[in-house]
């Protein structure tokens, strides 16, 4: 009798092991709304179909990204998170908030560092170790409204290639009412920020070799001087800001490009989706025009990184999900779903016929000058905020461009040394 019971229990145990409950992993994403619904349907559900032993529970933390850190500090992080920008990797890795993925990657058949664009690969690493992998990336360029080009007699198939041509076009495209008030701005150059223009002018903001910030480099000062001059053509920052404050919500049909209130605007691959939703307008794409000696076809490289937070309960299952979604299949599906640039070359080359918008990125991303959305240092946010403040002071005419960048340099470098990483 006793034996039968024992045998029975043993059978139970073995079958329980064989038909193990699927592991549920928690996934926090920065996507939301319709985009997330599509990702769920075309990517995440696909993954679960192929991997019945893993259940992915998705929740969005769109707009409240602070949550991640508090969750990690409280010891209750998700298993996978993709609401991490590329510029946050060093800060989070340095602070021990992310798991080192080196061992997983070494064993993986899907992860192939050589297939990623160099700029994307650089962003994955901190101090030589892997902490996050992008499933999508995006580039930056200027989108222009061809109808408005025609209206003022510019050739819509031949957009500006030099800074002078850009200024000339912007002047023609800017419209004022009878009181001299701007009703349409050709292009909001200041809005693209010094991070972009500094790079376009050939400047750098951080010198990795010497581990020191170079915010006040001569190229950056030249770029800021150009921005100040540009803004002053339209009556100064105050006047431009008043115009900008009247513009509608970016994520709506009132987006200034679609409302015809600006003729050229800094954009990314999401122009395709925006045009479907809020357009259509007849648009073209052009690179940021560069001065002589500057960087032609410059682009910033962004991307949501897939990471495993420290303290995740199911790192193995989490890795399998990441491996899939950043693998060839996942990346292609993500690119199709979001019309984003794929960070993997093989996928980009395959998709370029279906999605012409990635043609720009195909070349721009190969450039060694392609830059992240911010410095890859642990104080990226402090840098971006501080730089923004001092650039504003120059744009509003309170400081000379040189003085503004000298002060920004001093502040940021000081913080960098104080934080002592």
């Amino acid at each position: 009798m006793k034996r039968t019971v024992l045998a029975f229990l043993l059978v139970l145990l073995v079958s329980a092991l064989a038909y193990a409950e699927p592991v549920t992993i928690e996934y926090w994403t920065g996507w939301g709304g319709e985009e997330l619904e599509d990702i769920q349907k075309y990517v995440i559900d696909e993954f679960m179909k192929e991997n019945p032993d893993i259940i992915v529970q998705t929740s969005t933390i769109f707009g409240s990204y602070d949550k991640l850190l508090t969750a990690i500090a409280a010891g209750t992080p998700p298993d996978v998170v993709s609401a991490v920008w590329e510029t946050q990797i060093p800060g989070l890795a340095e602070r021990g908030a992310l798991m080192n993925l080196d061992e997983f990657a070494a064993k993986s058949e899907l992860y192939d560092p050589d297939d990623f664009y160099p700029a994307n690969y650089r962003q994955s690493l901190y101090k030589g170790s892997l902490y996050g992998i992008p499933a999508t990336t995006n580039t930056s360029f200027i989108v222009y409204n061809k109808d408005l080009f025609r209206e003022v007699g510019l050739d819509p198939e031949n957009p500006p290639r030099t800074l002078d041509e850009l200024v000339h076009a912007a002047d023609l495209l800017t419209k004022r009412d009878e009181n001299g008030k701007i009703v349409r701005l050709g292009y909001d150059a200041a809005g693209s920020g010094l991070w972009v223009w500094g790079h376009v002018f050939g400047g750098k903001f951080f010198d990795e070799e010497n581990d020191v910030f170079t915010i006040n480099s001569p190229e950056n000062i030249k770029a800021l001087t150009w921005m100040v001059d540009y803004v002053n053509r339209y009556g100064g920052m105050q006047v431009v800001q008043e115009f900008i404050s009247g513009l509608g919500n970016y994520w709506s049909p009132q987006n200034p490009l679609f409302a015809g209130q600006v003729a050229m605007a800094g954009f990314g691959e999401w122009i395709v989706q925006f045009n479907e939703r809020y357009g259509p307008i007849d648009y073209g794409i052009m690179a940021f025009p560069a001065p002589e000696g500057g960087v032609q076809n410059f682009t910033t490289v962004g991307g949501s990184m897939f990471c495993i937070p420290t303290g995740a309960k199911h790192p193995e299952a989490a890795w399998r999900f990441i491996e899939y979604i950043t693998g060839p299949k996942g990346v292609e599906q993500m690119a199709r779903t979001l019309t984003n640039m794929p960070p993997r070359r093989s996928v980009a080359e395959k998709l370029v016929h279906d999605l012409p918008v990635i043609n720009f990125g195909l070349h721009a991303l190969e450039s060694p000058k392609a830059a992240s959305g911010g410095p890859l240092t642990p104080i990226d946010q402090f840098f971006l905020d501080t730089l923004g403040q001092y650039v504003d002071q120059a744009l509003y005419g309170q400081l000379s461009p040189e003085e503004a960048l000298n002060q920004a340099q001093q502040m940021v470098q000081f913080e960098y040394e104080m934080a002592a990483f």
């Binding site: 850190l69 508090t70 500090a73 602070r95 504003d392």
Partner: protein
């Protein structure tokens, strides 16, 4: 003996929830934040003790900190008196008995019911330089309106204007105070030939001083912590724009504290800021209390 023990146990049982809440959610965080203010703490790694360095850096080396203090003092010195004055005037007017008194009381209190974030978004458009109703009105009167939240010189006046719209809460307290003024005093003043103004200055206001004092203290404490409206408005629709603009003109103390804690992950630095603010509020309150003997009258 046993009975008093039981009474004690009962008492402890009833105050228990409060005591636990106080110890766990007020005292403990305060003690910890005092400790964190002496450390380098980024939320994830354990805090590292660095002595008074956070305080030294704040007071000696941080231009943003000075900007934040300047902006906050502006609100305390100019915004708060204006808000109190507006609330007081509204209360005095709404204390007059008429057919529509209750209607108007409701009307003027209504803005205080609107959630602050919603109200801030609304006011972004009310004070929009291009399409806003205020500038449109000014224009029809022949003035060209200022840039409000786009102009560093006008952003704080814009916030003060917006605050004046939502002083219903203060107004209600003033109204309650006004109801306490004994009719007999007015009657005897009228017998002596006092008009509306003299009654206001010699009877109403003196009797109202405790209420004014209360509103002043509460208003000062909350103005030192001014946050939501400026945070919403200065970021506009863009979630990537750091708060405090244009040109740092709405970088208030609490906003800079928040940035340090959650954008730059300098929790120790933020804790030090919080303690400095606590000390400033404490000292200001004590000074007000000491001055109150000279101008607050408690005998009716």
């Amino acid at each position: 003996m046993r009975r008093s023990l039981r009474k004690l146990a009962m008492g402890l049982f009833f105050v228990g929830p409060w005591v636990i809440g106080f110890l766990g959610f007020t005292l403990y965080p305060m003690v910890m934040s005092a400790y964190y203010s002496l450390t380098n703490y980024n939320l994830v790694n354990p805090p590292k003790y660095i002595g008074w360095n956070n305080y030294i850096r704040l007071l000696q080396m941080d231009p943003q900190f000075k900007t934040a203090i300047g902006n906050t003092m502006y609100m305390v010195l100019f915004g708060l008196p204006i808000w109190l004055f507006v609330a007081l005037v509204m209360a005095v007017l709404l204390n007059e008995k008429g057919k529509l008194t209750t209607f108007f009381r409701t009307l003027f209190y209504l803005p205080s019911v609107v959630p602050t974030v919603a109200a801030s978004v609304l006011w972004m458009w009310v004070l929009n330089p291009q399409y806003g109703i205020v500038n449109t009105l000014l224009k029809s009167l022949g003035f060209s309106g200022p840039g409000w939240f786009t102009d560093p010189k006008w952003s704080k006046p814009g916030l003060i204007l917006m605050g004046a719209w939502a002083t219903g809460g203060t107004m209600i307290i003033f109204l309650a105070g006004l109801q306490n003024v004994p009719e007999a005093l007015y009657e005897s003043a009228e017998l002596d030939g006092a008009g509306w103004w003299r009654k206001l200055v010699h009877i109403t206001l003196p009797i109202l001083t405790p209420t004014i004092f209360f509103n002043l203290i509460m208003g000062m404490i909350s103005t030192f912590q001014y946050f939501t409206q400026a945070f919403v408005i200065s970021r506009g629709a863009g979630s990537n724009v750091p708060p405090g603009g244009p040109l740092g003109s709405t970088l208030f103390y609490a906003i800079y504290l928040y940035q340090n804690a959650f954008s730059y992950l300098r929790m120790g630095y933020a804790a030090a800021m919080a303690w400095l603010l606590f000390i400033v509020i404490l000292v200001s309150t004590l000074l007000l209390f000491r001055s109150s003997g000279k101008w607050v009258h408690y005998d009716t």
